[in-house]
């Protein structure tokens, strides 16, 4: 048991993580308000580069919260893998299938929707 280690204060690290999370959120909000046309109206990998930036920043935030606020970094490798990989695998699996199906329904449905009166 790492008693000596546990009693050490980590406030420095906590405030550092808080600053990182705040900066990421501010960047997201600024991009979300300005929506630079070159990022918003172009297309990369089926969506706009702006959306990909948002997704990546979100995952970075999720990493910092899980690793340093929830102390996942201090858990054993086996617990970490059991929780993190299970979630990542199942979520990617579900999201991929549902989004592909959603696009397909749109391909079939959208031409049938009337927008002129």
């Amino acid at each position: 048991m790492a008693h000596a280690q546990e009693h050490k204060s980590h406030t420095g690290l906590i405030w550092k993580v808080f600053i990182i999370l705040s900066v990421i959120t501010i960047v997201e909000v600024i991009l979300g308000i300005i929506k630079p046309e070159v990022l918003h109206l172009t297309k990369v990998l089926g969506t706009s580069p702006l959306n990909i930036i948002f997704l990546v920043l979100t995952l970075v935030k999720a990493y910092y919260i899980t690793w340093f606020f929830m102390h996942m970094a201090d858990e054993t490798k086996s617990l970490r893998r059991a929780v993190v990989w299970t979630a990542i695998f199942l979520i990617i699996y579900l999201a991929t299938l549902l989004l592909i199906e959603g696009s397909y329904i749109n391909d079939v449905l959208a031409p049938l929707v009337k927008w002129n009166y």
């Binding site: 009693h7 906590i14 909000v29 959306n51 929830m70 617990l79 999201a95 989004l99």
Partner: protein, 339 residues
């Protein structure tokens, strides 16, 4: 001889451990810790995993419906534009950014409480737990205000017979409120409530204007035109219909809509409102239960329960739940407001 010695060592080891634990059983805090975590903490992790999958299911379902109606989905920037004390100012994103900061900050105070618990500093744990509870309550209040604005609506619109929403815009393409061009004719029609007619018959609140009043108002203001839900992929904005074609749309009007609920949504697709209420509501319920659990643990800290137990691990466990609530909000924020 060597075997006996080993046995004795084991025995003294066990005794030393049992003295600090509740009892010697494997699953109730004994020395045998699977995955190096205590039973409670490990189970909290697996509960969080299952809850994360529940939220993913909801968000993925939202994604499915959004992809299904990708060409006409409401644009979040046009929906959430309110900020306290700034009436009529178009302020997209600011309020939800504030809410995100409140939740991140309450996460910071929670992790500071956990950190103080590791050092057995009761006073600090109490103080940081209190700040976390206050942060959680402020977040809940903010969410209630966000719901209030969404339910109340901002501009008003009309819904056509086939369910599509048509909004009113001025010459510059900005949305205008119904109040700015429609004059009420003060008809005799009032909402039927239980105290007016039959005690068991009532109806939903009436829209502020009748369909006829809206169309008369539209005809009286030649600078106005309409826009449909259809998104122009080139500019990612809603399509504006020229005024000369507008009447063929408005002749199809079924009802006047103000605000959003589970049946109709002035901002566009009703499913947007359904998912918004369901997912932010489910998240808000998690925040509420987190606040209640935090309050219970807060009083335990004050009473010295964990001081006697010589371990503040319980603070750590509720901290895990609280951070998870923050984690979910990070994703809700992305998928409802940013992407």
């Amino acid at each position: 001889m060597a075997e006996l010695k080993l046995k004795n060592q084991n025995k003294s080891y066990m005794e030393a451990t049992v003295a600090t634990e509740t009892n010697g059983k494997t699953w109730s805090g004994g020395n045998n810790k699977p995955l190096g975590a205590s039973y409670g903490k490990m189970m909290m992790w697996f509960f969080i995993l299952s809850d994360a999958l529940t939220f993913s299911g909801f968000l993925a379902a939202y994604g499915l419906m959004r992809f299904k109606f990708i060409e006409s989905w409401p644009i979040a920037d046009e929906v959430f534009t309110h900020f306290p004390f700034l009436h009529g100012v178009h302020a997209p994103m600011y309020y939800v950014a504030l809410m995100t900061f409140i939740l991140i900050f309450s996460s910071v105070t929670m992790v500071l409480a956990v950190d103080a618990g590791h050092q057995m500093k009761k006073g600090k744990v109490t103080f940081y737990m209190l700040l976390t509870i206050i942060g959680g309550l402020i977040f809940l209040g903010s969410q209630a205000w966000e719901w209030k604005n969404f339910i109340g609506g901002s501009y008003g619109a009309v819904q056509l017979n086939d369910g599509k929403i048509v909004q009113f815009v001025d010459a510059s393409g900005h949305q205008v409120t119904l109040e700015s061009f429609v004059t009420s004719e003060h008809s005799e029609r009032v909402q039927n409530t239980r105290d007016k007619g039959l005690w068991f018959v009532e109806e939903a609140a009436l829209p502020p204007f009748s369909v006829k009043e809206v169309i008369d108002g539209f005809n009286a203001h030649p600078e106005l035109t309409i826009r449909t839900e259809l998104i122009n992929p080139e500019t990612k904005t809603k399509t504006i219909i020229p005024r000369e074609n507008a009447m063929s749309y408005l002749n199809e009007t079924n009802i006047v809509v103000k605000g959003a609920n589970l049946k109709v949504n002035e901002y566009g697709n009703t499913l947007f409102a359904d998912f918004f209420f369901f997912i932010t509501g489910f998240h808000g319920f998690h925040v509420l239960s987190g606040v209640i659990i935090n309050i219970i643990i807060f009083f335990n800290v004050i009473l010295g329960t964990y001081e006697k137990r010589k371990s503040y691990e319980m603070v750590e466990k509720v901290g895990l739940y609280w951070h998870f609530v923050d984690l979910v909000w990070v994703f809700v924020f992305t998928f409802f407001y940013l992407v």
